[in-house]
Subunit: 159 residues, 4 copies
Amino acid sequence: MPKILIIYQSKTGNTKAMAEAVEKGVRKEGVEVVIKKIEDTHVDDLLAPDGIIIGSPTYFAATTAEIKRLIDDSIKHFKKLEGKVGAAFASSGGLGGGCETAILDILRAFLVHGMIVPGFLSGGHYGPVSVGAPNQERKEVCTAFGAKIALLVKRLSAK
Amino acid sequence: MPKILIIYQSKTGNTKAMAEAVEKGVRKEGVEVVIKKIEDTHVDDLLAPDGIIIGSPTYFAATTAEIKRLIDDSIKHFKKLEGKVGAAFASSGGLGGGCETAILDILRAFLVHGMIVPGFLSGGHYGPVSVGAPNQERKEVCTAFGAKIALLVKRLSAK
Amino acid sequence: MPKILIIYQSKTGNTKAMAEAVEKGVRKEGVEVVIKKIEDTHVDDLLAPDGIIIGSPTYFAATTAEIKRLIDDSIKHFKKLEGKVGAAFASSGGLGGGCETAILDILRAFLVHGMIVPGFLSGGHYGPVSVGAPNQERKEVCTAFGAKIALLVKRLSAK
Amino acid sequence: MPKILIIYQSKTGNTKAMAEAVEKGVRKEGVEVVIKKIEDTHVDDLLAPDGIIIGSPTYFAATTAEIKRLIDDSIKHFKKLEGKVGAAFASSGGLGGGCETAILDILRAFLVHGMIVPGFLSGGHYGPVSVGAPNQERKEVCTAFGAKIALLVKRLSAK
């Protein structure tokens, strides 16, 4: 049975709320899902899942040092993540803006790992974004995003 | 039967040589392939294939105006390219450098279209790159890249 | 006396309105300014000014084919634009989003030309952005941006 | 008298060798320069200098978690770095590639700080790059880069 790991970093709770909405979408499609805070995530956690979704706050129009730490550590498993599905979402706070480049930072790392990255027609060009706390519409976008990734993971896992 | 369209732009013949090596890899996997120069490509050509591969020269560390023209025109088919596989490769000439950002320019457009973009473990982080004419090693990288995309297209097309 | 050239592309009038607000800011600082539509701009127009500002619509989260055409043509003057100040702003329409990556596309080209690119603390991380028609606040951001660039051009032109 | 701070991260010594060549170029122009390893750098060190140059290894085609840590911490001094000159250089190792996007990661943060970022006509589109240890030619590129930044800092510091 395919599995998805959602990793998020959240100080204000905004990215956490998005992560939980994404999780709901994944479950809807009957895919097993684990959700972890970045501080509870070990690089070895990246090995088992068929899909990895990272939710990041936006600092300086980029992903955070904490998430880049996990990405840098993942060199330990270079070539072992190939073919997994990767996706990302981001929230931004005070300064506004920069969510899209934050998401692209994460997607670039997934591509370097030889992972498979889907695009999205709504909610944010490269994945869901939210300025401040996600409202109901943003949560629905996150849930639809989670469902879409789950579907792709299922298609790619089918024999 | 799944189909792949390869579109390339080439003044010196370098990107053309890469495109032909990519085509060879696609054929190897038994996937139907059409190869077109950018000047012979119509935006409606994007509709039929299951996978679209674009090969670009690198001008100012970016893709070219001609390829951006095709991308801009593709708004006509927004939402109709969702779920197709997209990939790109690039050559650079005199100035050197910039191939990776040129490829990323194209991949970003594919993601906005809701397409599925795979990463690669060798030959270039986001797709094959060549400074000047591709040598034998670069051609082999291009062929392996074509084969890999063909395999992904087949997996995604299978019922 | 230092000169600034503002080039913009506008179908709906939104980028034009931003360009005119930028122009106002440049004039305020007593710097000579010429404002041109992209379709009236020749690559040789890039030679005389001390600062070049480009305003772009956002197509596929990127600058447009028309502006990339001007950038590609500017290879004719490679090495001759070194040390000029470069800045950019962008508007986005229907799809929303992508203004920041559109601006970065232009700034990357300016950097390849050896130009000098200032950042901004408000209105958009890399230059002013507007979703749809700029309101009064957005116009003021554009005017402040124009004034800031004019000041930098004056400082760099002083003996 | 204007000051430049060079910050670098180096495990293999390659980025350190580049940093020392950059330092030589800055000194040549008679600008005061301090050179610091990232692990010895405190975010408050960013306040005094007129120019900040960061040298980064390339991990996953991006700057490192350690340098992103410094960037994230620099929010403490948001608005206080405005108008300083910022530049970056990068080395890459085993995987090759990605230096340009690593440099762009740093330049984006400088732009968000309202800093002034110059481009370069040789040695790398956005700053010097080196695959592996810098050879004599690469060191000269780094020295020319340091001199160029020093000159810009002097011009901007002059009354």
